[in-house]
């Protein structure tokens, strides 16, 4: 079972976890990403490649399903304008045992950061803005799963 959503709207972590708890396993793990309110950041704009995003996130989810014995995976990634404190991304996994649930969540968020077509632009209180630069560390964290 899997659920992938690319959406502008906020989501309920409780509802996502409740759905995962219904999967019949003994373990549910999740990761929620939040817009950090660093400095004088006013908002983030999440841009994406609509024709590609859902299929690419689905490919990442399929990789997780093929690597770990998972009962269910749920991924939500928001797009559009997001203010500090807003949820950006949710990944959740249900499995019979904790290792699969925990490891697959770490895998999913590492891959979403470096292998899905999203771009963040930061807007600041003084009216300036800048595109977030990709961090070499993010690609390294994705690549470590190839060696695992």
């Amino acid at each position: 079972m899997k659920s992938v959503s690319i959406q502008a709207e906020d989501f309920s972590v409780a509802a996502e976890l409740a759905a995962l708890e219904q999967a019949g396993g003994g373990a549910v793990a999740s990761f929620t990403g939040i817009v950090r309110g660093e400095g004088d950041l006013v908002a983030l704009q999440l841009d994406h490649y609509p024709a590609m995003t859902a299929t690419q996130v689905d490919r990442i989810v399929e990789q997780a399903l093929s690597r770990w014995p998972l009962l269910e995976v749920r991924v939500i990634h928001r797009v559009g304008r997001l203010e500090p404190g807003a949820r950006i991304v949710f990944v959740g996994a249900a499995a019979r045992h904790r290792a699969a649930a925990l490891e697959s969540c770490a895998f999913l968020i590492d891959w979403l950061k470096s292998a899905a077509p999203f771009w963040k632009k930061e807007y600041f209180a003084d009216g300036s803005s800048r595109w977030v630069e990709a961090r070499a560390q993010d690609e390294a964290e994705m690549a470590k799963w190839d060696r695992a």
Binding site: M52, Q56, V89, L112, K113, A115, P117, W119, E133, D138
Partner: protein, 83 residues
């Protein structure tokens, strides 16, 4: 005919969401990028440093030395920053 779509600062510098090109037979993604880079100052700024560019052909990530082949859509963009 190949539709080229742009995202993030690549789109902003070029000032277009997409445009069309007719790549010569056997062209690689890098060849299309090089010919597009000459179209305007914005194109030059956005496309002249291949190290800062990533690409997708028909919605699949590819390296810049990949042949365009029969693909219909080429996307050019910076390294992704989601999650």
């Amino acid at each position: 005919m190949l539709t080229v779509v742009y995202f993030a600062w690549v789109r902003e510098l070029i000032g277009l969401d997409e445009e069309r090109v007719e790549p010569p037979a056997g062209a690689k993604v890098a060849d299309v990028v090089a010919s597009l880079a000459a179209r305007s100052d914005g194109h030059t700024q956005a496309l002249s440093d291949g190290g800062r560019l990533r690409a997708a052909l028909d919605q699949q990530f590819v390296a810049l030395d990949t042949p365009v082949g029969a693909a219909r859509e080429l996307a050019l963009f910076p390294p992704v920053t989601g999650g």
